[in-house]
Amino acid sequence: MTTIYSVVEKSAERTVVQLPDYVDDDPSDADEHAIEALASTTDCLAFDLSATRAIPTSWLRMMWRVTQLAKGTDKRIFVVGVKPEVRRKADLIALEKQLHMRETLEDAK
């Protein structure tokens, strides 16, 4: 199966992983490993959810795990463009404050 996310920007300074408007299955182990690999080769990894209306809880948890891996390092992991209902979902599963949310990619610089 093809990956549901796209890597729209990739450099040593910043890598942006973009998710589509609707996601309806869990991130696979391969997805998670690939995103961890992307995080390891960049200073700033941003999950761009600006188009995303609906996403399973499992994706938010995976973003949190990647964020946890970067703890104690200089790397920064952001989630940007989060729509209100996705933010509410993150809040209800106690992740809103754990994920570093920003309004736009520019704010994540």
């Binding site: 609707y22 309806d24 299955d25 869990d26 948890r61 209902e85 996705v86 209800l92």
Partner: protein, 398 residues
């Protein structure tokens, strides 16, 4: 047509036909053979393929165009009795009759065949919907004229809206039906009920149901209702409602019958159901696009009625439910998604063929807390196995 003529039609030997002509006792062979023809287990003999020959057949469900009903029957003992069912299309409605002729076993069977044939004859090429009470009374009176004491429930199903079916029921000496909502698992009470006197003696009732969304109706003899409970018809009715409210409500009816009780003569049931959906797909776990298109369509429809905030809430619950189903869909790696836009609420069902959800196991499902705080959530066992998750949201914000 005489009993002997009917015997000849279904291919009985000349000796048996002569026996019937002499008014002899009804051979079990006759009853069994006729039942085979009635239930379409066996076609009529070629020699009987006369253009004007009566054909006693239940209409297949897929021909019931006015209302897309699913109809199944169950009886015990299965072979020979006075219980019968008839399903007929009349005008833009579907007429369903469940009846029981007085007498036991094979002795009651010719009377049941007569009643069934009579209903078939009265409704053949009937372009208009009959007045139900008058129709039921005429059937009872005609049966009485040939010494056949009939107890029956007559139900007329008419589609009255996209998700609405109006059902008129007239019963004479036969239990009133039990109506259960397919999704919410609640019993539906009749909108009206009038007590009647049977034209041939005894009591009856005229009931009207206004049904919305998915539902099922059980038309059953009192003996069968008894088999659901601990000894009385009313007890059986209560047990049925409890079964339908529970997580096992998609299991076949037979699974809830008391099989230890000795077999009686008065045990049959006709199950009429309608599971109406506005959108449904069967999708592979591996193929994401059809599922995403389904989510997109549902979100758009919900958005058009309740706006962005609640549409996104519904869609976010839906994707969590689909993700759970895909994670657990072992057998065949398929999931089934269904959507209904009813007048008061939106409903989706997400079904998988996984190991099923045990007591308390739903707490472990991803996103369950979010779902429960956002929409109404229900889990039940799918058939033959797996889980059905139902999400619903009222259109009017609480």
């Amino acid at each position: 047509m005489t009993q002997a003529g009917l015997g000849r039609l279904i291919g009985l030997s000349q000796g048996r036909v002569s026996q019937l002509e002499r008014g002899g006792t009804v051979p079990v062979e006759y009853a069994t053979r006729l039942q085979d023809v009635l239930e379409l287990r066996d076609p009529l003999p070629v020699s009987a393929a006369e253009p004007n020959a009566p054909r006693f057949m239940l209409a297949p469900a897929d021909q019931l165009l006015p209302v897309p009903l699913t109809i199944s029957s169950w009886s015990r003992p299965r072979l020979v009795s006075g219980d019968f069912h008839a399903v007929r299309v009349v005008g833009n409605a579907v007429l369903v009759v469940a009846g029981d002729v007085a007498g036991r076993g094979a002795q009651a069977f010719p009377g049941a065949s007569y009643a069934q044939g009579l209903i078939q004859g009265l409704t053949s090429n009937l372009g208009v919907v009959p007045e139900l009470q008058a129709f039921a009374e005429s059937v009872l009176q005609s049966c009485a004229r040939v010494s056949t004491a009939l107890a029956a429930a007559f139900a007329l199903f008419r589609r009255s809206g996209r998700h609405h079916v109006a059902v008129d029921v007239v019963t004479f000496g036969y239990p009133a039906p039990v109506v259960l909502h397919g999704t919410s698992g609640q019993s539906a009470l009749p909108a009206s009920r009038i007590e009647l006197r049977s034209p041939v003696g005894g009591e009856g009732a005229a009931l009207r149901f206004e049904l919305r969304g998915g539902w099922l109706m059980l038309l059953a003899s009192d003996g069968l209702f008894t088999r659901f409970g601990a000894g009385s018809e009313e007890d059986g009715r209560r047990e049925l409602v409890a079964w339908q409210r529970g997580a096992r409500r998609d299991e076949p009816l037979e699974g809830f019958l008391d099989r230890a009780a000795p077999s009686g003569d008065d045990e049959s049931a006709l199950l009429v159901s309608w599971r109406v959906w506005d959108d449904e797909i069967e999708a592979s776990v591996e193929e994401r696009a059809p599922r995403i298109e389904f989510v997109r369509r549902v979100r758009q429809r919900v958005f058009a009625v309740v706006g962005e905030e609640r549409a996104d809430r519904f869609a976010n619950c839906l994707v969590d439910a689909i993700a759970n189903a895909c994670r657990h869909a072992h057998e065949g790696r398929r999931v089934w998604l269904r959507y209904r836009d009813a007048p008061l609420r939106f409903t989706v069902e997400i079904e998988d063929r996984g190991a099923g959800i045990g007591r308390g196991a739903e707490k472990k499902l991803a996103g369950i807390d979010y779902m429960k705080q956002s929409v109404d959530v229900d889990f039940r066992r799918a058939m033959p196995f797996g889980t059905i998750c139902t999400l619903s949201m009222e259109k009017e914000a609480k």
